[in-house]
Symmetry: C2
Subunit: 307 residues, 2 copies
């Protein structure tokens, strides 16, 4: 949308997201086609998870954040593809028997159910590695490439997504449940486990679009709010939706006594928190101006999603 | 051994390797000290494997390759540290029950035996990610940083180390044993599984030292020979050594009918192949001149190691 353009309707923005998903998948396919001499079984396992059904939210956030600061959306394609590699690697590893032990993901058998644990571990490893290789080979400007690799590395690593997964997997919920510090603890886990990569999507997109320092700060505030909002929706859906709707087991959080927004605050308070985060994101988008309209619309859509 | 330079004795070069190991460990410790807000359990699991006993061969190859092309060895420290991250991540994942299922590594319980499978998987993931983050943050020249990330990514990924592990884990030995193509198949696995990262160590070291294209080609030939030599020694040791010597189970390859140099060619022929590769590496080192002396000595030492 340009300066004088009409407000993007929700259906418009979801069409844009679909188009971004196709562009990202195409970009990833071209990248994988240039990997020679890899075992076919490994490449099949990677493709099974990478090109499965999914909304490609992180690519969409990257590309709309790029646009929000005045860049052409295609400038964010390497960032979008790298983010999807990392997201997908984390899903494959999180589903493993040693971790969340999930049989179903996006309505299909999980990677290790199809290819076995060994190949699933190695497919995840390869996607983790390839995310960084992709940025180093597909971003023409080395200064930008290094910056994006740094952002993605920090968001993914021990103090980001992977660290959050350790907290989520290894620190029993009962340790923090019901105490005064619980909400803080919960938000800390989420900021790392889900929030860091979502915020990185916004930041990397903005950096790809040549964001000023001021715009990057605004995008960062937006990205943090979107990250929290995203996780609250996830928790609420797990508590209220059906497996059919989710494409994975529902009600699992409560069943295993996991610390979530609904188990901690109840559904109403959770939805209040969600509305607050959406409002922050919309305020930040407004600060960025009309080019950030579709980004604001996407945030609203994400908050309303039912699967 | 070189023309005008004093002859590096074997003990000299192993002293250098020890000093490089200390410098690499210090570099890694400083890097990890700057990771804030990571779960202590994850950092402990990473440190357990990263700073365990080990020769730090890849750092030594990188630093001596840097020197071989005229660079100060410390220029290769980021490459050395990143290589050790990747090597260590691969050991932690390879030892998992779903993979090689090893209880013992370098004479100590494997990472998952101490921290559980979930943390071991995530510690490996974090080290994989941090290798690239380290290069992006610790190499001052962005053009060199991007080049090193590309080299490391390709050597680690689906067509490198990880792909080699898939071949090794998932393609049963009986499929290729005894056929004409076996040696080729064996070398293909090894070139990917072990050779790619060892060659990358040499190449990344040389690039860090500002190698010319010609020198890089020579280092590449040397690195390929060292990679093959290294694996032959590993196979021969598994067939001939004791668990006490190795710090891990011995005779395991034969027990599981794995395709190795000794099972395929017998011990004598394996040692012949080894001698050939060592000679190639020494020839290439000679071509590089006197500064490559210690590198040549290290190759000889590696070929003679008994654990």
């Amino acid at each position: 949308m340009a300066a004088s353009a009409p407000v993007a309707s929700n259906s418009n923005v979801m069409d844009m997201v679909k188009s971004f998903a196709t562009q990202t998948d195409d970009f990833l396919r071209r990248f994988l086609a240039n990997v020679h001499d890899a075992p076919p079984l490994l490449m099949e396992s990677i493709s099974y998870s990478l090109f499965g059904p999914g909304k490609r939210i992180r690519p969409a956030l990257a590309m709309l954040s790029c646009r929000a600061v005045g860049g052409d959306v295609t400038l964010a394609l390497p960032a979008a593809a790298a983010l999807e590699f990392i997201h997908c690697f984390s899903l494959v590893h999180d589903d493993l028997p040693a971790m969340d032990n999930d049989d179903l993901r996006r309505g299909r058998p999980t990677n290790h159910k199809v290819y076995g644990d060994a190949v699933a571990i190695l497919a995840g490893d390869a996607m983790n590695t390839m995310a960084f290789e992709l940025l180093a080979t597909q971003v023409p400007d080395p200064v930008l490439a290094v910056r994006l690799i740094r952002e993605l590395g920090i968001a993914t690593g021990a103090a980001g997504m992977i660290g959050g997964q350790v907290l989520d997997t290894c620190y029993p919920a009962e340790k923090s449940r019901g105490t005064q510090g619980s909400l803080e603890h919960l938000q800390h886990i989420h900021r790392m486990k889900t929030g860091a990569l979502i915020n990185a999507a916004c930041r990397m997109g903005a950096l790809s679009g040549g964001a000023s320092d001021t715009d990057l700060q605004t995008i960062d505030a937006l990205g943090r709010a979107v990250g929290l909002a995203f996780q609250i929706v996830d928790d609420v859906l797990d508590a209220t939706s059906t497996a059919e709707n989710l494409g994975k087991k529902a009600g699992k959080d409560a069943a295993i006594g996991k610390l979530t927004y609904p188990t901690l605050l109840g559904l109403d308070k959770s939805r209040e928190h969600l509305a607050q985060q959406v409002q922050i994101a919309r305020d930040m988008a407004e600060r960025l101006g009309p080019l950030a309209e579709p980004l604001a619309q996407l945030v609203v859509e994400l908050a309303q999603r039912d699967h």
